[in-house]
């Protein structure tokens, strides 16, 4: 939990610094959401590592691909 939290803070900071959008609020909240999502993901990965559940792996992989497609397509912004 704590290790995942520390990693999530780093992910959030990197996101804010590297987000390809000049608008400050957009970069800021991209960091907030992606950092928090990274923390939740770290918790699930820890559970996965403990249990080796393939179903979880598939769900996470599917969610990651879906999120990437949505972000790339630009459909997230309306």
């Amino acid at each position: 939990m704590l290790g995942g939290g520390a990693a999530a803070v780093l992910v959030a900071m990197a996101t804010v610094l590297a987000w390809p959008d000049a608008r400050g609020l957009e970069r800021l909240y991209a960091g907030v959401f992606i950092g928090t999502a990274a923390w939740l993901a770290a918790i699930f990965v820890a559970l996965l590592a403990a249990s080796g559940a393939r179903a979880w792996g598939r769900v996470l992989a599917l969610a990651t691909v879906a999120a990437a497609v949505v972000l790339l397509h630009g459909g997230w912004r309306s």
């Binding site: 400050g24 960091g31 907030v32 393939r54």
Partner: protein, 496 residues
């Protein structure tokens, strides 16, 4: 799923539930209250409820407030009446650190000062504050968000563990012992309410952690840090006064012109800055149908002397991440879908509390069967049952009409007394004590409903309607608790 995987996931779900079950119950039960806060404030007003007006002349309201007490023209805020808060609230003076604001509440029908019963409610904020911050300010808000993290992880773990049998979607074994009933309730609540539970859990996470992220990450996005981020988030302040006096058009005319120009923005409040000056401005803040935002972000600012539009703020057209952040609060507190959205949110909150209670009960039962010490069961029953009874006692005390300090004493004293009683009850009487607390809480709720119904019958239906919705909800909750308490009382051999 392999048996070893299932065992590991089950173990992590069970232990996470054991560690966070009581906290999740407290946050979710108080969350039901917080979601219905505006309705409870109206309910609490009792005989002092006002009728919601069809139309209000804001200019007349401002003149009435000015006639009663001189207003500080540098900044005047006018909160428009709603069905749940039917008074017009006029406040003046600089907000925040500039000094205390002075305010007056007016009856929109007559323009006369009234006691703003809903605006100055004493009962509703007691439990709402518990949900929002645990009475610990910003750190408490973060703690509540962390409970949201635990809740979301438990939800997802529970769904993965579920064996996906169609009959599980309806099976509820009430006559086959408390373990079977608790297990079925736990499963049914998780299955049927999963979308709204996830919505509440995830938005709960971002309610606190979003604010923490804004605080800690803003120096990376803005050279000026948090103040600069907040200035961009909430819009620029009004222009300074020029010192040149100017004639102001009627306020209602300006508001009507705004409604004509932008009928989609449902005005909730109006802020006047430097009224009577050539640079005076009027800001209309509100919400838009179908847009998940709040009055903090949806605003239109006009120059007062001629009604010229100076600027508009809205999350429409802004980036997706900002829109997601702004949508968190309206989603978490069901500011969408009207009454149905609120009903769904309340069902989710009750479902979450049932999930936490039944999950903890199942864990405690297994622990007791394995010969574990009884302190965990005493703690969970005391704190959880105590909160339930304290909320019911608070509602009854408010219905009776006790003052603010007495209400606080009833809630905290009641919670402490019931918790202590349940924790110290001898083991052989503990089941009956818990059943008695359930029946007591139900009885208190029914008492509160009875008192409110008696006074609501003397009011017009249009005035009492929101309170009657609360009464119907409390009536159902009270009846269920009394029935559950009596069932456990007379079948204590079959109770946990």
């Amino acid at each position: 799923m392999k048996p070893i995987t299932r065992r590991l996931l089950h173990a992590s779900h069970t232990w996470a539930g054991a560690v966070f079950g009581l906290a999740v119950f407290i946050v979710c039960l108080s969350g039901v209250w917080a979601a219905a806060d505006a309705h409870l404030r109206h309910w609490e007003a009792g005989a002092r409820r006002l009728a919601a007006p069809a139309e209000v002349d804001i200019g007349q309201m401002l003149a009435a407030a000015q006639a009663h007490a001189p207003l500080d023209m540098r900044q005047i805020s006018i909160t428009l009446p709603t069905a749940l808060h039917p008074a017009v609230r006029v406040s003046s003076g600089p907000a925040g650190r500039g000094g205390p604001q002075r305010g007056i509440s007016l009856d929109p029908a007559t323009g006369r000062p009234v006691a703003d019963a809903a605006g100055s409610a004493a009962m509703a904020p007691i439990v709402t504050t518990l949900h929002k911050s645990l009475y610990a300010g910003f750190p408490g808000r973060i703690a509540v968000s962390l409970v949201g993290v635990a809740f979301t992880v438990l939800l997802l773990g529970g769904i993965v563990l579920h064996p996906r049998r169609w009959r599980d979607w309806t099976a509820l074994r009430l006559g086959k012992g408390w373990r079977a009933a608790a297990f079925d309730l736990h499963r049914l609540a998780g299955l049927w309410l999963l979308p709204v539970l996830l919505l509440n859990g995830v938005t709960g996470i971002f309610s606190g952690l979003g604010a923490l992220g804004t605080l800690t990450l803003s120096p990376l996005a803005y050279p000026g840090g948090m103040p600069q981020a907040m200035a961009e988030l909430t819009g620029s302040p009004p222009a300074r006064a020029s010192g040149v006096p100017a004639a102001m058009p009627p306020l209602q005319t300006l508001l009507d012109a705004h409604r004509l120009r932008d009928p989609g923005l449902r005005a909730e409040s109006i802020t006047l800055a430097n009224w009577g000056d050539a640079e005076a401005s009027l800001t209309v803040a509100g919400t838009r149908p179908g847009l998940l935002s709040t009055a903090v972000f949806e605003r239109a600012r006009y120059r007062a002397r001629d009604g010229l539009l100076l600027g508009e703020d809205s999350v429409r057209g802004r980036g997706g991440w900002l829109r997601a952040f702004v949508a968190v609060q309206p989603l978490h507190y069901a500011r969408y879908g009207g009454g149905w959205g609120l009903a769904l949110n309340l069902a989710g909150g009750i479902g979450a509390a049932v999930l936490a209670a039944t999950g903890t009960l199942l864990w405690l039962g297994r622990r007791a069967a394995q010969g574990g010490p009884p302190w965990a069961g005493r703690l969970a029953a005391g704190c959880g049952g105590g909160l339930l009874a304290a909320c019911a006692a608070l509602l009854l005390a408010a219905a009776i009409g006790l003052d603010a300090s007495s209400l606080a004493r009833v809630f905290w004293g009641g919670w402490a007394a019931v918790a202590t009683g349940l924790m110290l009850a001898p083991v052989r009487h503990q089941r009956r004590a818990a059943a008695a607390v359930l029946a007591l809480a139900g009885g208190l709720l029914l008492g509160a409903v009875g008192i409110d119904l008696a006074r609501s019958l003397a009011q017009l239906l249009a005035v009492a309607a929101p309170a009657l919705c609360v009464d119907a909800f409390l009536l159902c909750a009270g009846a269920v608790l009394v029935a559950l308490g009596l069932r456990l009382q007379f079948r204590s051999k079959d109770s946990p």
